[in-house]
């Protein structure tokens, strides 16, 4: 056998202003910095992976996440309208993964519920869940953008 033993199992469990900064997202105002959509402790843990080249990994992760999350939420919405459950679940699964890892917990939790959706669920319930996802995603984006702004000074 190529692998005589299993090595490891790790289980644990805004526009104008933004455009000025070259960023495609709305910049959050100070009033929305404080919401619990993002667990900043989780996000700040990535400080230890910072490089010495002057770049900011956390800002990079935020930028990637915001772009990807917006696309996934849109895919989820479109898939629900088309009752394409496989596509909906796949998009929800992907968004759950990155959201959980960056401390965007509410979004991750809603995505988990969306992964369980199937043709037997009432369209109204699914639509409500997606509406909640859009709301939580917007809240998380505001928090992340505020953090991004602070980090860029």
């Amino acid at each position: 056998m190529m692998f005589p033993e299993k090595m490891i199992v790790l289980d644990q469990a805004n526009h104008d202003e933004a455009a000025d900064n070259g960023h495609p997202f709305p910049v959050a105002s100070a009033s929305v910095i404080a919401n619990d959509a993002v667990d900043m402790e989780v996000l700040n843990a990535f400080e230890e992976l910072q490089r010495d080249d002057g770049s900011d990994l956390i800002v990079e992760l935020i930028d990637l996440y915001l772009l990807d999350a917006a696309e996934r939420v849109s895919q989820i919405r479109e898939a629900s309208i088309a009752t394409e459950w496989v596509l909906l679940k796949r998009a929800a699964h992907n968004l759950k993964g990155s959201s959980g890892n960056l401390g965007v917990r509410q979004v991750a939790e809603i995505c988990q519920k969306l992964e369980w959706v199937d043709r037997h669920d009432s369209p109204t319930a699914v639509a409500a869940l997606i509406q909640l996802l859009e709301y939580e995603s917007a809240m998380a984006s505001s928090s992340l953008l505020a953090l991004r702004q602070r980090r860029l000074g």
């Binding site: 299993k6 490891i8 289980d11 843990a45 992976l49 996440y65 992907n94 993964g97 959980g100």
Partner: protein
């Protein structure tokens, strides 16, 4: 000392294949690998990884997402284990599922490690260190 330096210079780069359709995770894993002085070859999905593997087998390790478009991570593991030139490359699977069955399937297919999301930077760093270490012991045993 000079001999030691020469040996260090001769050490080939630790190339690692990373396949994940999630840009956040891909960037995170790539950054961590580069910190550990690895050279990263990144693929945006399973099909791209498969194409890379068809012509390139010089990898110290592979880190594959379980759920990817076109070709799932598990299918890639099976492919790698069926090819003589790829079968010694240690593989770590990453998944957003904390499902024992999935974990078992990964190991049965030939993965050496399984990391479930969410994970902390420490956990990712440790898992990568162990993965790269397991590659050395496999080569020594061979």
């Amino acid at each position: 000392m000079e001999n030691f330096r020469m040996k260090l210079k001769e050490e080939p780069p630790r190339r690692v294949l990373v396949a994940d359709d999630d840009p956040v995770m891909r960037h995170l894993v790539t950054t961590t690998l580069k910190q550990q002085e690895c050279e990263v070859v990144a693929a945006n999905d399973g099909r791209e990884a498969y194409r890379i593997l068809q012509t390139d087998s010089q990898f110290r390790a592979a880190i594959l997402d379980m759920t990817m478009p076109f070709l799932e991570g598990l299918d890639l593991v099976r492919y790698m284990r069926s090819e003589r030139r790829l079968m010694r490359i240690p593989i770590m699977m990453i998944s957003a599922e904390q499902d024992m069955k999935l974990m078992t399937s990964s190991f049965s297919a030939g993965a050496a490690a399984f990391l479930s999301k969410p994970f902390t930077p420490d956990q990712l760093q440790s898992a990568i260190r162990m993965l790269l270490g397991s590659g050395s012991s496999i080569r020594r045993a061979a």
